[in-house]
Amino acid sequence: MAKNKKETQEQIQFTPSGTGIRTNGQIVRSTELPSPTKKKHKSLGLSEEDVVDMFHQMYLQRRFEERAMQMYQKGKFGGFLHLYMGQEAISTGTVYALNDDDDIITAYRDHGWGLVRGVSPKEGMAELYGKVTGCSRGKGGSMHFANVEEHFWGGHGIVGGHIPLGSGIAFANKYKQNDRVTACFLGDGAVDQGVLHEVLNMSQNWGLPCIYAVENNGYAMGTAVHRHSVGEIYERAHGYGMKNAVINGMDVFTVYEKMKEIAEDVRENSMPWFIEIRTYRYRGHSMSDPMKYRTKEELKEYEKLDPIERIKNYLLDNDILEQDEIDEIQDTVEDTVMEAIDFAEESDFPEKDDLYKDVFVEDDYPFHT
């Protein structure tokens, strides 16, 4: 908002208020969604089984988190719990678009990413509970799901802290000439971190095979995107001459289509991309967030665009599945998640000795006392 006259003392305001975007004069929105793809699954190169599996994967992420939320509210485990609900199309579409040995790294809203990249619901739930059977052996918790064997380099807790790590992973891939692409996901809040700019500069300069993908869910914690960041996020790429795009993240086909194109371009040319994927976070930033910063109407507006409902309807409308088959998948997922909870509850906590495990690679490090 350009001010063309000097404000009086009372008029001074630093951070803008509101959420910045108004559509049809009524609903206040934090982000504006680009159009989704019009392509059907066949023309995207996806089989019916793929679409069913996508639905299955997305529903698993959703249900896993709903039950995790319930268990958290029952006081079953502590720590943070940042829920991914609403953003499942991004994790699922991306993982389908990338090769299995392409590398993925993300921030702390990482449950969906872990589940779709090989962290089993049991290992995931056990990690939330801090059990030794968890994917990170109970040492990481909610923010640090990881499955490095399957090229998921984990969730990371410092806002923006993992951006250079993703770049380094891409650097090593280029060094080794192994054709792997790295997808480094970050939130809109991390765009304001200085390290992003150091890294975009080097990445463009060195031609790192990396996709910097901002999951813009409208809020950095409780601060709407236009209250914390000037201009449009994807436009940041212009300053570095980096290829960029803005994508609808509420539609799994769109994410799949764009990520596939971009990944192939990166693989071909070994130059990075900076993309903004617009989405919406249905829950608070974390479990103790009363969500006073957004309107109920806005949330409802986005819930109408729920990526899971969308793919479910696609399956029904295109006669890929009947309602009872959908119900069956949902029941199966529910059972899987409940089993995961039982598994987590019955699993052991790490041994006391595990405190000193994996600080260093060697077993005989002389710890200071």
């Binding site: 052996r137 990881a146 802290g161 250079p164 790590l165 380094g168 390290v195 890294v199």
Partner: protein, 327 residues
């Protein structure tokens, strides 16, 4: 034995390791085309090419993090900081990521990276360019910290650091790069991390000194020898893990100890070693442990103030006189 400058010893270590492992590369400001800000990496660009000798922008946080990511993904980076005073900008990456990512993922990754460069003061460079960071990094679990005082130690320990599968901070000094010393020519000479060295034997007092301060302690010892005071100098060489056994063994012999440390007094190596000594050698002390450190002030510019600020041989002699009840 060959006589090498400190910088040559470091270069030899990097060169030998790079020659035998394709995954090792050097990254930092002015390391390649400029031949190194202090000529440590001179000639390595010609030898290994621009893929393995990488000039970075002045973006410590960014390139430190890229190094860590590359290490996670199977390479063995040597990240050079023009000085550890600039590495403060990269502290998030070193402290929050390099040291913790293995632990947080339950052992799913290794971070075999070396961060190296000069530490502490180098003359009248003023407050922001004169800080010793070894004790600060040693505070964090998951990091190893080395700060050597002589070319041979530097070579042997840097080779071990490059081979280590954990993040290691390897610290040097601008003022020591030209220092000459005998370096073993033994094939594949290495020194294990975490082992100190008795640099001078003596029976009257143990002086613990590492990095640049070793030379201050050595001067003091030569002076004191003229007065028949025999100083035993222990150079820990590695700050973390610390070879406290060697220090304690020496104190059991001499019963007195002075620690010389180019850190500020609060929370430096001197304080930590002092604590360990009272725990491990309480009944062997004939006097309270003394330390010679920087004052609790930042580095001044003015020459006279700077000389006052930096620990000197005379201060070490005074401390020795105190613990030996000579004065």
């Amino acid at each position: 034995m060959a006589e090498l400058q400190f910088r040559e010893a470091i270069r030899a270590a990097i060169d030998e390791e790079m020659a035998q492992d394709e995954g090792i590369f050097v990254m930092g400001e002015e390391v390649a085309e400029y031949d190194g800000a202090y000529k440590v990496t001179e000639g390595l660009l010609d030898k290994y090419g621009p893929k393995r000798m990488i000039d970075t922008p002045i973006s410590e946080l960014g390139f430190a993090g890229i190094g860590i990511g590359a290490a996670m993904n199977g390479l063995r980076p040597i990240v050079e900081f023009m000085t550890f005073n600039f590495a403060v900008l990269a502290a998030d990456q070193i402290i929050n990521h390099a040291s913790k990512v293995r632990y947080m993922t339950g052992g799913q990754v290794e971070v075999p990276i070396v961060f190296r460069g000069p530490n502490a003061s180098a003359g009248q460079l003023s407050a922001t360019h004169s800080v010793a960071y070894d004790a600060m990094y040693a505070h964090f679990p998951g990091l190893k910290v080395i700060y050597t005082s002589e070319p041979e130690d530097a070579k042997g320990l840097l080779k071990s650091a490059i081979r280590d599968d954990n993040p290691v901070l390897f610290m040097e000094s601008e003022q020591m790069y030209g220092l000459k010393g005998e370096v073993s020519e033994e094939e594949d000479f290495t020194i294990p991390i975490g082992k100190g060295k008795v640099k001078r034997e003596g029976s009257d007092v143990t002086v613990v000194a590492h990095g640049k301060m070793y030379h201050v302690a050595k001067q003091a010892a030569q002076q004191l020898a003229k007065e028949d005071v025999e100083v035993e100098i222990i150079d820990p060489r590695t700050v973390k893990p610390l070879d406290i056994e060697m220090i304690v063994k020496s104190i059991k012999k001499t019963n007195r100890c002075v620690i010389v440390d180019e850190s500020h007094p609060f929370g430096g190596l001197a304080g930590e070693v002092g604590y360990l000594i009272q725990r491990e050698a309480f009944d062997y002390l004939d006097a309270p442990v003394q330390r010679v450190t920087l004052p609790d002030t930042s580095a001044p510019f003015a020459k006279n103030l700077f000389d006052e600020w930096l620990p000197s041989a005379n201060e070490v002699i005074d401390a020795v006189n105190t613990v030996t009840y000579r004065k």
